[in-house]
């Protein structure tokens, strides 16, 4: 059972960060869906409700997503259905249920860097930047490899492009965690393949992505690239699947992802 000694809803980020830094076990609260599963002893819980970070908006070059935006809003927002072949709505739609996604926030999902995350994999195949209150703006890939430090994820910036993308997850049953998930995107001839739930956190298959970007791939070539992706990334075993199985799934999902994006026009 978790405990919280105090709860504060600060009016600005500065205040929120001050409280967060105050004590080791002061914590930012997201949607709280995972909170009660743990035994966290939180001194001060910081609820960001008053910071107006619940929004999805478009500027000239970016789509901005506030940290307190729910996964359900991500799933249903017209802008996100329109852009990137709807890869973001697609990535979150199988997470538990509507009432769960109405509560879970984008900020907590990304900040937690969960290996099983569906959203991170999809974001990783887009041109996504993470804005942290203290550490500032950085590419998502950098954020994922950065050591954990106390900070506040404020918003995501996704470059507005004609990038076409798709997301595929493999689940043993409909609302389970992914055994493996894959996102594939293409802008002009530049491809990105991201693989998550390996079960460790999502990563880009750099060589396979590069191979794919060189020429218009044939079916045979796609098989080869998918094979490459499954070889360059590492896979582990947990209760949802063995490393061997994940590797095989990786090859299949990457191949299918490429096939889906291939016919799309992205320039």
């Amino acid at each position: 059972m978790f405990t919280i000694i105090d709860l504060i809803q600060p009016d600005n980020l500065n205040e929120a960060y001050q409280i967060l830094s105050d004590k080791r076990n002061n914590t930012i609260l997201g949607g709280c869906a995972f909170l009660k599963m743990g035994k966290k002893r939180i001194n001060t819980g910081i609820d960001l409700t008053n910071l107006k970070l619940n929004y999805i908006q478009e500027s000239d070059d970016f789509i901005e997503i506030g940290a307190m935006t729910s996964l359900r809003e991500l799933e249903t927002h017209p802008l996100l259905k329109e852009y990137y072949k709807g890869v973001l709505p697609q990535s979150v739609r199988d997470i538990i249920g509507v009432q769960f996604r109405n509560g879970v926030t984008v900020g907590a999902s990304v900040y937690s860097k969960y290996g099983f995350s569906d959203l991170i994999t999809a974001l990783l195949c887009l041109d996504t930047e993470v804005e942290l209150f203290k550490a500032g703006r950085m590419p998502l890939a950098d954020f994922l490899t950065m050591p954990k430090a106390k900070d506040i994820l404020v918003r995501l910036w996704i470059k507005k492009t004609l990038r076409q993308a798709t997301y595929l997850s493999f689940r043993s049953s409909a609302s389970d965690y992914s055994v493996l998930n894959v996102a594939v995107s293409k802008l002009d001839n530049h491809w990105t393949i991201a693989v998550g739930a390996r079960p460790s956190k999502a990563a880009i298959a750099i060589s396979a992505s590069a191979m794919l970007s060189q020429e218009v791939p044939t079916l045979e070539k796609i098989e080869e690239i998918a094979q490459k992706a499954s070889e360059e990334l590492s896979f582990g075993t947990n209760q949802r699947g063995s490393a061997t199985y994940r590797k095989a799934l990786c090859k299949t999902l990457v191949k299918r992802g490429i096939m889906e994006v291939l016919p799309c026009k992205s320039n």
Partner: protein, 149 residues
């Protein structure tokens, strides 16, 4: 700490602990339709509406409900009864324990989706588990309720 919220259209001031969850607060104030069954935010039994959107009342701190508008099935007697009549005519409430949360999801769906397909209905309600019915009877009831095929 004291919170102020609207529960089923009525403004209330409740004293709650910092780590109290909304589902528990609601039950302690007599909203006994609220059932919980999982402790892991994935069964959907405790579904209520917060500002009109379906939420897991077991997965939100009561303090976070401050200033919000909460709706439970007790606050929707007419709509709930209308659907419950159809559901129970199918026999699809069976043990009934998951029904209040399920009905809250169905009513939220009715507000949110226009003329949903069978696939959309199933997708919208995936977060509501039921162990008795196998879901087929629930689907029949929803189709009757929404007048869709």
């Amino acid at each position: 700490m004291q919170i102020e919220l609207t529960i089923n259209e009525k403004a209330v001031k409740w004293e709650v602990a910092f780590d109290e969850l909304l589902a528990d607060t609601l039950r302690s104030h007599g909203f006994l339709s609220i059932k919980t069954a999982c402790d892991t935010s994935c069964c959907g039994l405790c579904t209520v509406w917060i500002d009109g959107k379906s939420r897991l009342s077991c997965s939100i701190l009561s303090l976070q409900a401050h200033g919000k508008k909460i709706t439970t099935i007790e606050g929707l007697p007419k709509e709930a009864e209308e659907f419950a009549q159809i559901l129970s005519a199918e026999g699809a409430e069976q043990c009934g324990f998951c029904s209040p949360g399920f009905i809250m999801s169905v009513l939220a769906m009715k507000n949110e989706l226009v003329n949903p397909s069978e696939e959309e209905i199933i997708h919208y309600l995936t977060g509501n588990l039921c162990r008795c019915t196998g879901y087929m009877g629930q689907l029949r009831a929803i189709k009757t309720f929404l007048g869709v095929v």
